[in-house]
C-alpha cells in the first residue's frame, strides 16, 4: 500500500491532466475561433462544437483545485498567493471566456457578436499562456521562505526572478501552441465543411510547432533546472510519460488525415508531457529556489491522514459519476455539429 500522500499526488496529477486534455481543446478552439470560422454560421458551428461540454470541462479545474485544497493545503496557499496577479488574471480570462460563449448568440447584432468572438479568442489565449508560465515557475523554483510562502514580481528584471521571463514564457507558448493544435484536432472531429477543412490545414503545422517547442523547453529545462531534468532518468513514471509523448506525436504525424486517432494522439502527447513533468518533480510539489530544504513536498504540504482517508472514501464514486456524465454528454452530442438557427443552441 503506497503512502496516502503519494496516492493523493497522483490523484491531483490525474485530475489536472483531465482538465488539460478536456478543457484544453476548448481553449484551442477559442484561439482558432475567428480564423476557422469566418461567417456567422461558421462561428456558430465552432461554438456548437464545444457548447455542451466546455462548462463540464472547466469543472475539472475546480475539482483539481478542490483536491489540492483537501490534500495539500500549503501548496494551494503558497502558489495562489505567490502568483496572486497571474491567478486573478486567469480568473478574469475564464469569466470572459464563459460569458463570450454563453452570451454571444443571444443578440443578432454583428457588432455584439464580433465583440464576443474577439473576447473569446483573447481569453482563450491568455489562460494557456499564464498556466504554462506558472508551470514553468514550479519547475524552475520560486523563492519560498521558511514560512511556506513566496513573493514574485510579475516580470523578471536583471537578476531578480519574476513570474514571466524567457523560460516561463517559453513554457507558456508551448502550452498555448499545444492546446491550439489540440483544439484543431477537436474541430476536425466535430465539424464538417469549410470549418473542418481550415482546422485540418492548420493542425499539422501546429503540431510540428508543438513538438519543436516541447523539445526546446526540455533543452531549456536542462539548463534552468538541471536536477529536475536529470530526475527523468530514475523516475519510472517519467519514462511512461515520455513514451506517451513519443507515441502521441507519432500517431499525430502518421495519421494526418484521420479524426479520432490524431485526437487521441494529441491527448497522449499532452498527458505524457504533464506526467513527465510531475514525475520529475515528485515528491516536490512546489520547488524552492532558496535551496531544496524549503521546497514544499507531498509530506510537508500535506493535510492530515483522516482528511486524506475520508477523501479517498468518496473520490472513487465521485469520479465514476463524473465519468458517467461525461460519457452521457458525449453520447448525446456524438457526430458532427451543424450551425443551429438563431434562437436555438450556440
Amino acid at each position: 500500500m503506497p503512502e496516502l500522500t503519494t496516492v493523493w499526488f497522483w490523484i491531483v496529477a490525474v485530475m489536472v491532466t483531465l482538465w488539460a486534455v478536456l478543457d484544453g481543446f476548448d481553449f484551442g478552439v477559442g484561439v482558432l475561433h475567428r480564423f476557422v470560422g469566418r461567417s456567422d454560421t461558421e462561428r456558430r458551428q465552432v461554438l456548437a462544437a464545444i457548447g455542451p461540454v466546455w462548462d463540464g470541462n472547466e469543472v475539472w479545474l475546480i475539482a483539481s483545485g478542490g483536491a489540492i485544497f483537501l490534500a495539500f493545503p500549503r501548496l494551494l496557499a503558497a502558489a495562489f498567493s505567490g502568483f496572486y496577479l497571474p491567478v486573478i488574471f486567469v480568473a478574469w480570462a475564464l469569466i470572459l471566456r464563459g460569458i463570450s460563449i454563453e452570451l454571444r448568440s443571444h443578440m443578432p447584432g454583428a457588432l455584439w457578436r464580433s465583440f464576443f468572438d474577439t473576447t473569446f479568442m483573447l481569453a482563450s489565449l491568455a489562460v494557456p499562456v499564464l498556466v504554462g508560465a506558472a508551470l514553468g515557475n514550479v519547475i524552475r523554483g520560486v523563492p519560498l521562505t521558511a514560512d511556506g510562502f513566496f513573493e514574485l514580481p510579475l516580470f523578471a528584471r536583471g537578476n531578480v526572478l519574476g513570474v514571466l521571463d524567457g523560460y516561463t514564457l517559453l513554457c507558456g507558448v508551448l502550452v498555448l501552441v499545444t492546446l491550439t493544435a489540440h483544439g484543431a484536432n477537436w474541430l476536425v472531429c466535430k465539424t464538417d465543411g469549410v470549418v473542418r477543412a481550415r482546422a485540418l490545414a492548420l493542425r499539422t503545422p501546429l503540431w510540428l510547432a508543438a513538438v519543436a517547442l516541447w523539445l526546446a523547453t526540455g533543452a531549456a529545462t536542462s539548463v534552468v533546472s538541471p536536477d529536475v531534468f536529470a530526475a527523468a532518468r530514475t523516475a519510472p513514471m517519467a519514462w511512461l510519460g515520455l513514451l506517451l509523448v513519443l507515441g502521441g506525436a507519432l500517431t499525430v504525424g502518421l495519421k494526418r488525415h484521420g479524426e479520432l486517432a490524431p485526437f487521441f494522439g494529441g491527448v497522449a502527447f499532452i498527458a505524457g508531457a504533464l506526467v513527465t513533468a510531475v514525475a520529475c518533480l515528485f515528491p516536490v510539489v512546489l520547488r524552492s529556489s532558496n535551496g531544496p530544504a524549503l521546497s514544499l513536498t507531498v509530506t510537508n504540504a500535506a493535510s492530515g491522514a483522516i482528511a486524506m482517508q475520508s477523501g479517498l472514501m468518496w473520490w472513487g464514486p465521485g469520479m465514476l459519476l463524473a465519468a458517467s456524465y461525461l460519457w452521457w454528454t458525449l453520447r448525446h452530442f456524438r457526430g458532427k455539429v451543424v450551425a443551429a438557427k438563431d434562437g436555438e443552441g450556440y
Binding site: 457548447g51 455542451p52 461540454v53 462548462d55 469543472v59 475546480i62 475539482a63 483545485g65 478542490g66 483536491a67 485544497f69 483537501l70 490534500a71 493545503p73 500549503r74 494551494l76 496557499a77 503558497a78 495562489f80 498567493s81 505567490g82 496572486y84 496577479l85 491567478v87 486573478i88 486567469v90 480568473a91 478574469w92 475564464l94 469569466i95 470572459l96 464563459g98 460569458i99 454563453e102 452570451l103 443571444h106 443578440m107 443578432p108 510562502f149 513566496f150 513573493e151 493535510s303 492530515g304 483522516i306 482528511a307 475520508s310 477523501g311 472514501m313 468518496w314 465521485g318 469520479m319 459519476l321 463524473a322 456524465y325 461525461l326 452521457w328 454528454t329 448525446h332 434562437g343 443552441g345
Partner: protein, 460 residues
C-alpha cells in the same frame, strides 16, 4: 458603513493601506455579487421542476410553456453564477492563504466534494436543459431539470457546511502550530449549524425565485399581455412565495437564531444593539446603535420578546456587549445591526404581501386591484436585499473570527499580497462585474419583453 469597516482593521499602519481591509472588501464585493445569481438558480430550479412535473400531466401544456420561459432565464442566470463563482474558489488561495494553509485540512473536504458531486452534475445537464427539449422528449427533459435542481441544491449543502465550520467549528483537531485537521468526517459534515443554516438559506432562495416569478406574471397582467401565462406565473409564484416566506421565518429562521444566541452571544448582542445584560430582554424594532456611547438611540422596543425568541423564556438572561471584551466584539456593530434588522423587517413584509396576494387571487379580486399587482411587480428586488442582508448578518456576526473563537480574521489573510495588488484587482472586479451586470439585465429584460411564447414566433 465606511468607518465601521475601517474600525475592523486592526493594524498600526494607516487603515486604507491595510491589506486586510482590501482583502475583506474584495471578498465582500465578489461574494455579494456572486450570490445574487445562485439564490435565483436554486429556487428557480425547484420551481422549474414543479412546472415541468405539472406539464407531464394530461392538459399541462401551459405549464410546459411557463417552464420553457423560465429555463431561458435560468440559463442566463446560471452562466453568470458560474463565471462569478470561479473567483470565489480562487480567493481562498489568493487572498486568504494563511486561512487556507491552516484550515484546508478540514474545509478542503467539502470544497472538493462540491466540485465532484455538484458542479459536474450541473454543468453536464445544463446544456440538455436549455437546448435539449426537442431531442430528449418530455420525460428525459424533466430528468435534466431534476439534475439541475439536485446539483444546485447539493452545491448549497457543501458551501453551507464549509461556512458552518467557520461559524461553529466541529469535527476537527488542532495542532500546536495552529493547523486544523479533520478528526471525523461525519461530525464535520453533519454540523447542526450547517443543517439549520442550509434549511434557512434554501427557503430564502425559494423566496427570491417565487418573487421573481410573481413579478414577471404581475408585469404581464399590468400590461394586459400573455394573460394565461401571466396568471399561471402569479399562481405558482404566490403559492410558493407564501410557503417560502413562512418557512424562512419559522421554523428555519427561529432555529438559526437560537443557535446564534447559544453559540455567538456577541453576535446576538450586536444584531440587537444590546449593551446591557439582563433578563426580559427587549427586541428593538427601530433604533440606531451608538457604539461610542454604548446605547441604542431612538429605540422602539417590545419588552421581553428577545429573551423569548432567543431562549424560549421571557425571563431568560441575554448578554449585552458590556459584558463581552471589546476585542471580541464584531468589527462592525452598526452594519451588523442594520443587516439583521433589514432581513427581519423585509421577511415580515414578505409574509404580509404574499398572504394578501394569495387571498386576493383566491377571492378573485387580484386583477381589479392594480396597486396590488404593482406591489407584486416592484417587490422582486427586496428578497435579493434580504438574502444579502441575511448573509451579511451571518458573516459580520462571525467577526472578528474566521473560525469562530479560534482563528482571527486578521490572522487569515495572505502574508505576501499587499494592499496595492488587492486594490488593483478589486478595481478590476468592479469594472468587469459592472459590465456583466449591464449585459445580464439587458438580456433578461429582452426575454421578459419577448414574453413566454418567444420560441414559437421568430424574433429578430
Amino acid at each position: 458603513m465606511w468607518h465601521a469597516i475601517l474600525l475592523g482593521a486592526v493594524s498600526p499602519v494607516p487603515m486604507l493601506s491595510n491589506p486586510l481591509l482590501w482583502h475583506r472588501l474584495q471578498f465582500a464585493f465578489t461574494i455579494v455579487y456572486h450570490y445574487l445569481f445562485p439564490q435565483l438558480t436554486m429556487g428557480l430550479a425547484l420551481l422549474i421542476v414543479v412546472m415541468k412535473g405539472l406539464a407531464l400531466r394530461p392538459g399541462g401544456e401551459a405549464y410546459g410553456t411557463a417552464a420553457r420561459f423560465w429555463v431561458r432565464i435560468f440559463g442566463l442566470n446560471f452562466a453568470i453564477g458560474v463565471v462569478t463563482g470561479l473567483p470565489m474558489e480562487f480567493q481562498f488561495g489568493t487572498n486568504w492563504a494563511r486561512f487556507s494553509q491552516l484550515t484546508g485540512g478540514v474545509i478542503g473536504q467539502t470544497l472538493a466534494l462540491e466540485g465532484m458531486f455538484a458542479f459536474f452534475l450541473e454543468s453536464s445537464f445544463l446544456a440538455m436543459l436549455v437546448w435539449g427539449e426537442k431531442q430528449l422528449g418530455p420525460r428525459k427533459h424533466f430528468a435534466a431539470a431534476v439534475a439541475l435542481f439536485v446539483g444546485s441544491w447539493l452545491s448549497g449543502v457543501f458551501i453551507t457546511t464549509t461556512n458552518a465550520f467557520m461559524q461553529h467549528p466541529v469535527g476537527y483537531t488542532r495542532a500546536a502550530d495552529g493547523v486544523f485537521s479533520l478528526a471525523n468526517f461525519w461530525t464535520y459534515v453533519l454540523n447542526p449549524w450547517a443543517l439549520a443554516q442550509y434549511a434557512h438559506n434554501q427557503m430564502a432562495s425559494l423566496v427570491t425565485a417565487s418573487f421573481v416569478v410573481t413579478a414577471v406574471g404581475a408585469y404581464w397582467l399590468l400590461r394586459g399581455v400573455h394573460l394565461e401565462q401571466a396568471r399561471l406565473n402569479v399562481k405558482i409564484g404566490t403559492i410558493a412565495g407564501l410557503f417560502a416566506s413562512l418557512a424562512v421565518a419559522f421554523p428555519t429562521g427561529d432555529v438559526q437564531a437560537k443557535l446564534v444566541a447559544t453559540h455567538q452571544p456577541a453576535a446576538l448582542a450586536a444584531m440587537e444593539g444590546r449593551f446591557e445584560s439582563g433578563p426580559r430582554a427587549d427586541i428593538h424594532l427601530i433604533g440606531q446603535p451608538n457604539v461610542a456611547k454604548r446605547r441604542l438611540d431612538n429605540p422602539i422596543a417590545v419588552p421581553a420578546v428577545l429573551s423569548f425568541l432567543a431562549f424560549g423564556s421571557f425571563n431568560a438572561e441575554v448578554k449585552g456587549l458590556n459584558d463581552i471584551p471589546e476585542n471580541d466584539w464584531p468589527t462592525s456593530i452598526e452594519l451588523l445591526y442594520y443587516a439583521f434588522h433589514v432581513m427581519v423587517g423585509l421577511g415580515t413584509l414578505f409574509i404580509g404581501l404574499m398572504a394578501l396576494a394569495n387571498l386576493a387571487r383566491w377571492r378573485g379580486w387580484l386583477e381589479r386591484h392594480r396597486w396590488l399587482l404593482w406591489s407584486m411587480m416592484l417587490a422582486f428586488p427586496f428578497p435579493y436585499i434580504a438574502n444579502t442582508a441575511g448573509w451579511m448578518t451571518a458573516e459580520l456576526g462571525r467577526q472578528p473570527w474566521l473560525v469562530y473563537g479560534l482563528l482571527r480574521t486578521s490572522d487569515g489573510a495572505s502574508p505576501t499580497v499587499h494592499a496595492g495588488s488587492t486594490a488593483f484587482t478589486l478595481i478590476g472586479f468592479t469594472g468587469l462585474y459592472f459590465l456583466l451586470g449591464v449585459a445580464f439585465l439587458f438580456l433578461i429584460g429582452r426575454e421578459v419583453q419577448h414574453g413566454p411564447h418567444a420560441d414559437e414566433v421568430p424574433h429578430a
